[in-house]
């Protein structure tokens, strides 16, 4: 298989020809849609008046909840999110009214003429207040193994503490966008920037009160998703569909950056409490964790996200006695949602903090504690939820990375640097990742495909996954080309379209290539079966003494041939024409469901994951003790992706995921004011990494020669999310640097993100020195 294939849309990207929602050419009847959202975190709507707004020239529709023909609901799992607010608004940024007009200015003019009377109500704006008011979003959950309580009592050492991890804004470069175009009767065509076209279709149908077979959702590509368009792309789609339905004209909504940031949910912030029991050697015997997440005003995917937190609270470590409690709190903020890692990062941040604290307590290097507590291969290899950690590659990766990163040597150099420098400190940390691959809601682990072969030998592949930059379509193109034995130019991957492949799952949980790749292969196998059967008939008739066996007929280098009689061969294109003349169907659907998994949500036991992805990172930072600013000097990563389908794309996922994680760990800080207004609502104040923030020396390796032992597509492994969490190495390296100020004797006050402010204010508390007043 050809591996180093450039991104399938690479040329379209660099020439500006790639089409995103806002670039689709629409006739002059196109209207601009605008969403009017609530200015209060919590209030009752006493009255509103839209009549003046409707009079503005160029305005074609001004809608409120009463104008919704179907259900006023767009919650993906729990129906607790109105499409347009009715009597109460529950966060700043909640959609209340919709306007469609000929120009943006007309929309704004109409917006000014909408009058609303509110009765402000008390708002809950943080986890602490929600806890105090017992404002849960749903029932708490618990997962347990052994007896953590008893083991803590008998432990030699105990540490308890709290960790705060912050929210994160997706900051996809393309903001949420949707274009709806009316068809005949009830028909509507929805061009959406969504990771979940089937759900978008479902919700649009429900909101308009029409059937699903009347709604077609199409996604060519997204300008980034990262989880932010898994459920919340649906919202913009519902709004634009409503306006389209009301005006019977094409309507496009593309959120302005600030509106997008204000209206949409983020990565959940967490407040995590931990209590760990361990012995003198640093063996952890007991761990009690309590995760509290800020779910925002509605459920969205908060419980699935929290479940993944619980399932990754162990990260890579075997802990005999473990108890994990999880509470999702309801606040008056936009409903928080999926974001790369899906709760995993928050779970792992807690676990890695625990390891780090144990190490500091025992005056040992944290890597020693990590190694000691890693899951074993023969024993100590079952997680707290009962899944066996098979094909464990932790030690393999650890050994490789310790050597390639020269960890030991650099540890000494860092310590020496710190002993000689007062105003600059260095820090070094290694963190592992073990990430479970599969949706934990088991039925979602299914995918579909539709493959068409045409009589010129070209192939059009449809599948249920969506392309958001991760290279899914490139991998699909490679898979189809390899399976048919043709060059990749012969394969085109179509825009994802619900009329081609129905009832699909979201492109999420890193599973896009795994599942859709298999579904495509399944479709291709069906077509190949028909072709080989027909060819064996043809050839056997031609050479009746020496008939061709169907199983011996292979596809390679643009030809189909009988491997027992290589002179019997036909070019792929000629064969397709023949097949058509002989009335053989050249298209097929394909389907895949992940085998061998099963998860009992109630008991919290079972095998939720098909397999695990492993990786590790070592990062070194330089902290300016006087300003709190840091520099990322070097990062070494070793990531296990099985047998990579496309190393260029996989390395891109590792690097991109890692840097996005670095943002979460360092400069990406979200702040709300006391009234629940987002203060960091633009890139002016919300700072994602620039090119200057990547490691000065960045060394990423894929683990080679280790195909996935279980039957995944081409023995590859998922890669989208796991590397995100390797960024915890940067976060803990910063902590290492800070803690060196007090010679690692005092536990620094630390939280995530480690902004320059967090860093600078932690230091005087460690060392009430002459120059730093406490």
């Amino acid at each position: 298989m050809e591996k180093m294939i450039p991104h399938e849309s690479g040329i379209a990207h660099v020439t500006g020809e790639a089409v995103y929602i806002d670039d689709i050419l629409v006739n002059e009847q196109l209207l601009v849609g605008r969403v009017i959202y609530s200015p209060h975190a919590h209030a009752r709507i006493i009255s509103f008046d839209l009549s003046d707004a409707k009079k503005v020239k160029g305005v074609h529709a001004v809608l409120c909840h009463k104008d919704i023909p179907g259900h006023n609901q767009m919650g993906p799992v729990i129906k607790d999110e109105p499409v347009l607010a009715e009597n109460e608004i529950t966060f700043v940024g909640q959609a209340m009214f919709l306007i469609a007009a000929e120009t943006e200015d007309q929309c704004r003019e109409a917006e000014k003429l909408i009058s609303v009377e509110y009765e402000p109500l008390d708002a809950i704006l943080d986890i602490e207040t929600a806890i105090a008011k017992n404002n849960l979003l749903g029932p708490p959950r618990k997962m347990e193994r052994g007896d953590a309580e008893a083991a803590l009592k008998s432990a030699k050492h105990i540490i308890l503490g709290e960790l705060r991890t912050g929210a994160q804004e997706h900051w996809y470069l393309e903001t949420q966008a949707c274009l709806s175009i009316p068809g005949e009767g009830n028909e509507i065509n929805v061009f959406s920037s969504t990771q979940h076209p089937s759900e978008t279709q479902t919700l649009v149908a429900e909101v308009l009160g029409i059937n699903r077979n009347e709604v077609v959702v199409e996604v060519r590509r997204m300008g980034g998703g990262f989880g932010g368009k898994e459920t919340q792309g649906n919202h913009v789609a519902c709004w634009s569909a409503l306006l389209c339905n009301a005006t019977k004209r094409p309507v496009k909504i593309k959120l302005f950056r600030d509106d997008d940031m204000i209206m949409t949910g983020k990565r959940h912030r967490y407040l995590t409490k931990y209590e760990v029991g361990f012995n003198d050697d640093g063996n952890i015997d007991a761990l009690k964790l309590e995760f509290n997440s800020d779910g925002g005003a509605a459920t969205d995917l908060s419980f699935a996200i929290m479940e993944r937190t619980m399932l990754h609270a162990d990260n890579s470590y075997y802990i005999p006695n473990m108890s994990v409690t999880a509470l999702v709190w309801k606040t008056n903020l936009p409903s928080n949602t999926a974001f790369r890692g899906f709760g995993g990062p928050q779970g792992m941040a807690a676990m890695e903090t625990v390891i780090d604290r144990v190490a500091r307590y025992l005056h040992k290097d944290p890597t020693e504690i990590r190694l000691k507590n890693f899951y074993g291969t023969e024993t100590r290899n079952v997680t707290h939820y009962g899944q066996k950690v098979e094909n464990n590659r932790l030690n393999l990766i650890y050994d490789k990375l310790i050597e390639s990163s020269e960890y030991e040597k650099r540890r000494k150099e860092v310590d020496e640097f710190n002993s000689k420098n007062e105003f600059y400190k260095k820090g070094l940390a290694l963190t592992p990742v073990k990430f479970g691959i599969s949706f934990t809601t088991t039925f979602l682990n299914q995918a579909g495909a539709l493959v068409n072969v045409y009589t010129d030998g070209t192939i059009l592949v449809n599948h249920g996954g969506t392309e958001m930059g991760q290279g899914l379509n490139t991998k699909i193109q490679q898979i189809a080309a390899a399976e048919f034995g043709v060059s990749i130019e012969k394969v085109k991957v179509n825009a994802t379209n619900t009329s081609k492949v129905p009832n699909t799952s979201a492109t999420a949980a890193s599973s896009g290539s795994d599942m859709n790749g298999m579904a495509v292969k399944n479709a291709i196998d069906t077509i190949k079966e028909r072709i080989t059967k027909e060819l064996s008939t043809i050839w056997s008739a031609q050479y009746s003494i020496n008939p061709s066996l169907q199983n011996s007929i292979l596809f390679k280098d643009g030809f189909i041939f009988d491997s027992d009689h290589p002179d019997r061969r036909i070019s792929f294109a000629d064969a397709m024409l023949q097949m058509n003349l002989r009335q053989v169907s050249l298209n097929s659907t394909g389907f895949y469901k992940t085998p061998d998994i099963g998860w009992d949500k109630i008991k919290g036991q079972g095998k939720p994951f098909f397999y695990y992805s492993f990786g590790m990172g070592v990062s070194e930072v330089l902290v300016d003790v006087l300003t709190g600013q840091h520099t990322l000097l070097r990062t070494d990563i070793v990531q296990d992706v099985g047998d990579s389908i496309n190393p260029g794309i996989d390395i891109g996922q590792v690097e991109g995921g890692f840097i996005q994680g670095v943002g979460w760990c360092t400069t990406e800080e979200i702040k709300w004011d006391a009234k629940g207004n987002l203060m960091t609502h633009s890139p002016d104040t919300y700072k994602i990494p620039t090119v200057q923030d990547i490691p000065k020396d960045f060394r990423v390796q894929l683990l080679e020669g280790v195909p996935n032992p279980i039957g995944t597509i081409r023995r590859s492994k998922a890669v989208g999310e796991p590397p995100f969490m390797l960024s915890l190495s940067v976060w803990l390296a910063i902590k290492d640097a800070i803690s060196s100020v007090a010679n690692h004797e005092i536990e620094p006050e630390f939280s995530l993100p480690a902004t320059n402010e967090v860093i600078l204010l932690a230091i005087p508390k460690l060392k009430p020195s002459r120059f730093q007043r406490p």
């Binding site: 995921g657 800080e669 890139p683 990547i694």
Partner: protein, 485 residues
Amino acid sequence: MNSKISFILDGKITYIDFNPANGLTPTTTVLNYLRKFPNHKGVKEGCAEGDCGACTVALGEPARHRSGGVENDRIRYKAVDSCLIFLPMLHGKQLITIENLKSADGKLHPVQQSMVEEYGSQCGFCTPGIVMAMFELYKEHPNPSRAQIDDAITGNLCRCTGYRPIVDAASHACTHNGVDHFNTDEPRIIEMLKSIPSESILIKTKNQQYFRPATMEEVLLLKQKYPDAIVLGGATDVALRVTKGHELLTELIDISGIADLKIVNETHSELAIGAGVVMNEVRKSVEKNFPALHQMLNVFASNQIRNVATLGGNLGTASPIGDALPVLMAYGSKVELQSVNGKREVSLNDYFTGYRKTLRKPDELIASIILPKQPNGVIVKSYKVSKRKDLDISTLSAGFSLDLDKGVVKSIILAYGGMAVTTKRASITENFLIGKLWERETVEEAMQMIDKDFTPISDVRGSAEFRMAAARNLLIKFWQETNTK
């Protein structure tokens, strides 16, 4: 006066007449203008405020000498954020978009080719902007260093790639001495640009008056006649009032075409920088004699912004977090103000009178900024503390100057930004230090004095506590960096 503007797009002269029929106003941004065309949708909006670079295009102009004159045989290409440029500012320039990069035979430009080969795009939404930023690098800095590449790309956010492949693409692509199909076309383009007269333009629409004078005299007369009109230097600050604030700006005087304001004049004792000199040019001009200002400009906004933002505009905002201001103060700079009644010089020390208030009279223009060359032995340093090191607005910033006599502080300037409603000197601390030995104990004592000088606010960029801690610490940092022992 002409009411049309002319510039080159797609290799042809394009005229714009502003009228309700085409929906264009003088404050329509180049981004919104381009996106109206079916064949110019490659330019993307990611933020509409200059922070993401997705809207990057290139502008070509005949290269300029530092003295102000024009080199007639070469075009200088600059990457700019099209979301912050008003259409009339294009007058007399060549606008180059992502669609223009392929050669006529359909071959990818070397930077495009490398981006494909190096996996430089994932979702692709940032990519046209990145390619255009790289295009300037390709044309202006053959064989760039890593630092030059980083500098060229800082203004482009990419949420997907982690930038490494983009850096690699740049370093592989920019190896052809800047040669590409634009060279072939350059003589023709230069002739075309010359054919566009540099005349005064007045664009009058129902609600707006936009003046684009051609000479300094006209500017001063307009300023006298319309004292409330908004002066546009590079518009990187003013444009946000339109793109983010959705304000209707009714009277504007665009001085971005005034050659007299773009002159850098160096004598043995001082450097006078015209108010209209863009930050990238300022950065070059001060590298030798004013390294602290140079250093500050290295972390000032992004290349795209520095290509249009002016020094006059930085003073013009009178923002307490204008980055050039503390360090200019530390250099003892003067502001030259000009009106129809003549010129006057004001010390920057006295210039700011309150929150966004200055000594400048409504009819006056900032004409230039004068930096005195420092006597031997005077040390000047600058510091910027921001959440992200690059392309971020300061939480606080500082410019310090120190003159020692046998280890004793003879004179000292401690100018801070972000600590008060204006750029402000820590005069209590300065007075405390004068006459004292420049040693650690003294400086630590001085750090406590900072509390008397400032009571900063808490805001989205940082708490008051953080600002105070960092402000104190910068003193010890300054001591450490100047301590020759």
